[in-house]
Structure formats: structure tokens, C-alpha cells
Amino acid sequence: MSTIEIRKVTKMFGDFTAVKDADLKVAAGEVVCLLGPSGCGKTTTLRMIAGLERVTAGDVIIAGKNMNELSPQKRDIAMVFQFYALYPALSVGQNIAMPLHYEKLSKEEMDKRVMKVAKILHLDTVLDRLPGQVSEGEKQRVAVARAIVRDPNCFLFDEPLSRLDVELRHSMRGQIKEVLSGLSKATVIVTHDQLEALTMADRIAIMRDGLIEQVGSPHEVFAKPANVFVASFIGTPQMNLIEANFKGYGDGKAKVVFDKQEVTIGANAGVASLKPGKVTVGIRPRAFSVASRDTKDTIDAQAELIEPMGAETLIHARTITGGDIRVVVTRDKRVKVGELLHLVPDPAQTHIFDESGKAVRA
């Protein structure tokens, strides 16, 4: 079975801990994205799975076998590198054929296999060119072709689309997803682009400072972020994270005070067990509705800057005490600079994080 599992994997570079106690399971046919800001250890994790870096501690298990001590050659994996790593002196066709030499195939068999993947990735017309003579998008497809030309234990992608322009990226996302869905292999994709992760992955593992913060489906990590970091990292525009004082819970509503404004906002039942004290309230910019007048349930803020984004409008507003709030409203809702807005947060999309930053859920 094509599966990947890492257990308590740690990587140290000297005194620096790049990855700490990372646990991850990837089932056959599943695509998992490692997502995080640069320097969070996601690429190191991938390279440890590939065997390009040794693990300092923990286990890397591929296809049910512990691979800790095996070199990349012996792990039978395929990988697409960030800079594609095409062999510059070889033609596109020879590049794709490189992994096949190991299997000692006949020339005809090799050509047949190369041709097959070249057709899938629309490379059949450029097989004789050198990597320096093809476009950026074609280079990327050659790298993918080289990975899928054989039948490896699993697929690894290191920032596969980061060098493409926006349009190409969009079409390649679809293509890669399509190719992968036909192969039923365990796949790990490293990316710093959340859109890439949300569209391509079955599950997303969000990393920060060497730690895996949350693993879940794209829907889960968006709708139920486990902590403040995940909440702030996933979703654009960024979620509003307001530091507040939690006073108490009742009637499906939490009473919080930020600076001088006291507001009751809808919250899940889990909040009931929370002791009064410091919390962070997270509300997505799209989760506000604008009420016509001030009530106990509204957050009052003055519109300061208005950014039309096409179908929607992003409003940067300032609360009375100076806190910053981002609100997204539909295009037809006209707001003027300086206007006082009475914002009602949607209880289903309101998150309360305790003092340590963890989400409080029922």
C-alpha cells in the first residue's frame, strides 16, 4: 500500500530545531498539503520523508516500512522540486526517462512510457528540446512527468507552483490534481500558498516554527481553526483577532469587554466552561452583518479606508478605542469614509480562543 507516516519526527541543525515531534499520516490516494509561512520547517519535513535529510529523532514509515536509515535511492519515491531540478544537459525526453534507467527497461519500452506521460502532460511536441529552451510552465510539467513516469511508493512536491505566474498556477493546480487523482498514491505537497493548499489537498497540515499546529480537511481548518495562528493564517482577508476580557456566558452568548466596549456576542456552548479572563475573539471579515442601529450585540466602528475588491468591498474600520477591524460587505452596500458602522457578528463564525491561544469549542 502506498502510505506515508511520520512519527514524532524531529530535525535539529546544530542547536536550531527545524522540526519538532511532527506526526502525520497520509493514506493511499490521499493528498496532504504542508502549509506554513517560510522557515516553518515544512520543506525540511518533506526532505526527511524523501531521505534527503536524516531525521534527528522519530520514524519515517513509507509503505509500511521504516525508512529512517535508507538513502533516497532505496525509498522508491518520486519528487517534484521547487526549482524543478531538470538535468540541464539532457533533452526533455531524456529528463523524463531518467528514473527509468534503474528499471533496466528496453529502449522501446522506455520510449513508450515517456511518450505516454508526455501525452498526458502535453509535452509530446517538446521532447527533443533542452530544458533551457522550453517555457516555465513546460519545465514544471516536465518535472511532474519525471515523477509520474514510474510507479513509486509515494509522491512529494516541494512548492511545485511557486515559480509560475498567477494564470499558469491556476491551470496547473487543476492539472496536477487531475493527474494525482488517477494514481491513488500517498502524496505530500509543500506550499506557502493557502489557496493552493485549499484547492489541491484532501487534508492540510499547518506548520509554524517546526510544529504542526493543526491537521484537517480544508473545510475544517477554515471553519474550525484550532488556535489563533491557524485562524490568522487561513483565509483572506485575515480573520479579525480582537483581544478582549471575557466576563461570562449565558443564553448562547458570551459577554466580552474590549477596552471600554462591552458586547455580547453569539458563541458556542464550550465557552460556558471558560473562566473569566483574557481571551481572543476571532471573527472573519465576511461574518459581519451591518445593523441599522447600536444595540448591545453590536460592535461599533468607524469606516476609515475602503477598498473595492470587485464583487465585494473591504472596509478597514476603527473602534472607538482605536482597535482595527476588517469587514467585507457586498458591493451593493455603500459605505462612506467616516461612517459609523454597527457590526453584528455571526455566532456560527465567531471563535473564542483562550489565553494560551487555543480555540474553545463545544
Binding site: G51, Q82, A85, P99
Partner: protein
């Protein structure tokens, strides 16, 4: 960058102006030729020198007025190179068409006779041909030895490993040392009575070992010393190529399970091919000039005279100046042919790629 160039009208041909370089060249040449014909050599040399300085000054003024800073900056260097390299070069080309011996006063134009003499004359030519053959042999053997040793050393140092920087110093030192100084010490090591080499071989075989008493031994000794000194040069060049190979290519090759042999030929070799060719060219040209080691180790004995050695002997000791000049142009010609062959091959490579 060059926007500051001002378009002044060029002075008319015979207008007397400090920036009229055409007139300066004309006058300078005329006076030089007159001086060369009329005055004794020791005086005319200085007159010609003064004329060269005048032309240079006029050029400089012209460049400054027109804000040709490039020309102005480059001029002193060109002047020095002209006086010390290019002028002697042309002089020696001229000499090669005359019959002239530096210990006699007479000088006579004889056309190509010097060339014919050094290449075909019954008495002079055999020694020249021998020296040419010796040179060819030294070129092939020293360059081959350096390329192989340098390449292997580079492969050893291509990886990252502890203490690499310090070990590299040990290997690079021979190249940085004076050829003469280390050459002198090779005579010490090769000495039949107290030399360490002879002693070591003598201990094993029980007989006295004299490296330099036959041609093969002498050539081996010279080639060994030369290869020892210059392999680090080849190593440096190859190493530059090896470290320029992106690491991720080797990583990709590891993932693709490419064999070491195939990795070398498909990934590594394309990166070092150009530098190997460059090393080959540099070392071949240097090997053509081989003089110092032959002189220091054996004073040209055991039939090891190279062409450079022979020219120095002919021109300096035997005072056959113009013959020496002709012979030097023969090697210069060979070096030029070789360089162009290299450039041709290198260009064809680039176009093919």
C-alpha cells in the same frame, strides 16, 4: 554610462592643435624614422620614446576634451604594454627577417632565410626539430599528468567534509610556490647520493639509484615536478565547475535512482566540460613555454632541451639573435594555431548546445 561623450568637431588634418592625434602620429612616425636612420641606436631609441610619449599625450588630451574617459583610463596601461610587450614583439618579428648577431654590428635583410635555416638547415635544424619534438613530448605528458591528477584531486575536494578548507591549503601550496624555488629543491630530492628519492629506492633495491642519468629518468623527473606544481591549477578550475552544479540536481538524481556513473556523465560532466577545456588550453600554452624546470633540474642535459630552452641558448649564449627570433615565431605560430583551434571548438560547442 557613456552619455557624457561630447561631439566636438574633429580638427582638420594639418591644423596644429593639442588634440590633433592624426597629425601627432604622422609627425611622430616621420621623426622616428628619420632618427632611426640618422642617429646611433642609443640616441634614436630615446627620440622614438619621446615621440611615443608625445602621441600618447595628444591622445590623452583628445580623450579628455571629448570626455572619452574610457580611453583616458585605459591609455597608460596600453602604453606600458605597448612599450614592454607589443613593441618588442614587433621588433623581434622584424629581426627574424634580418641576419643579425647581437655581438656584431652588421645587419642585413635576408627575408625568410632565417625561418628556412632553423627548420631545414643541415646543421641547425636537427637540434631545433629535436627540441620541438621534446617540447611536444613535454606538452603531452605534463598536461596529461596535470589533467588527470588535478581532476582526481578536484573530485576528492568536491564534497563538503570536515577540515576541507585546511586540507585544501596543503594541496594548493605547490602552485603558489615559486617554480624556481621548488624546482631547486627537486634537485635536492633527486640527488643520487644524499637525495631522499635515491635513498628510498636504494634501500629497496640495494643499488644506487640515479634518476637523471638517462633521458627517460630525466623526463620523468621533470614531468613529475611540473605535474606536482600545476595539478592544483587544474584542480581549482575543475573544482569551480564541480561546486557550480546545483545541489538539487544530485538530490533529484538520488530520488530518480540514477547510478553514480550516469550521474557523472549526465549531470557533472556538462558543468565541468568548459572549464576542463580552459584548463587544457592554459596548461598547454604554459607547457609550450617550459624552460625553468629543464634549466634548473638538468641544465638541458640528457637530450631534454625544449624549444624555449634552445631559443634562450641560441639567442643569449650564442648571440644568434635573429635566428632565435625566427624560432620563437615558430612556437608563437604554434601557440596561436592551438588557441584558435580551442576557441573554434569552444564556439562550436556553444552553438551546438
Amino acid at each position: 554610462m557613456n552619455t557624457a561623450v561630447r561631439d566636438l568637431p574633429a580638427p582638420a588634418m594639418f591644423e596644429f592643435d593639442a588634440s590633433n592625434w592624426k597629425l601627432a602620429i604622422l609627425a611622430g612616425l616621420a621623426i622616428s624614422i628619420l632618427a632611426a636612420l640618422a642617429l646611433p641606436a642609443s640616441l634614436s631609441f630615446w627620440v622614438i620614446g619621446a615621440m611615443a610619449a608625445m602621441i600618447a599625450a595628444v591622445f590623452a588630451i583628445n580623450a579628455y576634451r571629448r570626455k572619452y574617459y574610457g580611453g583616458l583610463l585605459v591609455a597608460p596601461a596600453i602604453a606600458v604594454l605597448f612599450v614592454m610587450n607589443i613593441f618588442p614583439l614587433l621588433w623581434s618579428l622584424g629581426l627574424s627577417f634580418f641576419a643579425y648577431q647581437s655581438n656584431q654590428q652588421t645587419i642585413r635583410f635576408i627575408g625568410l632565410n632565417n625561418y628556412i635555416k632553423v627548420l631545414t638547415n643541415d646543421i641547425a635544424a636537427p637540434a631545433n626539430w629535436d627540441a620541438l619534438i621534446n617540447t611536444g613530448m613535454f606538452v603531452v605528458s605534463t598536461v596529461a599528468a596535470q589533467m588527470i591528477a588535478g581532476f582526481l584531486l578536484a573530485m576528492l575536494f568536491a564534497k563538503q567534509f570536515p577540515l576541507r578548507k585546511y586540507l585544501l591549503i596543503l594541496v594548493l601550496t605547490p602552485m603558489m610556490l615559486s617554480v624556481v624555488a621548488s624546482g631547486v629543491f627537486f634537485t635536492y630530492y633527486y640527488d643520487p647520493t644524499f637525495g631522499i628519492l635515491s635513498y628510498a629506492i636504494g634501500e629497496v633495491t640495494g643499488e644506487q639509484f640515479i634518476l637523471m642519468d638517462n633521458k627517460l629518468g630525466a623526463v620523468t623527473g621533470i614531468v613529475f615536478a611540473d605535474a606536482w606544481m600545476w595539478s592544483p591549477f587544474v584542480m581549482l578550475l575543475v573544482l569551480a565547475g564541480l561546486v557550480s552544479v546545483p545541489k538539487y540536481l544530485y538530490e533529484a538524481a538520488a530520488i530518480d535512482r540514477v547510478s553514480k556513473w550516469r550521474q557523472f556523465w549526465t549531470i557533472t560532466f556538462p558543468y565541468i566540460r568548459g572549464l576542463l577545456m580552459l584548463a587544457l588550453l592554459f596548461r598547454t600554452i604554459e607547457a609550450f613555454k617550459l624552460y625553468d624546470l629543464v634549466y634548473i633540474l638538468i641544465r638541458g642535459g640528457q637530450d631534454t632541451k625544449t624549444i624555449a630552452y634552445l631559443i634562450a641558448e641560441i639567442a643569449n649564449e650564442q648571440n644568434k639573435t635573429s635566428e632565435g627570433a625566427a624560432l620563437s615565431y615558430v612556437i608563437l605560430f604554434m601557440v596561436i594555431v592551438l588557441t584558435n583551434l580551442y576557441l573554434y571548438l569552444a564556439n562550436r560547442r556553444n552553438q551546438g548546445a
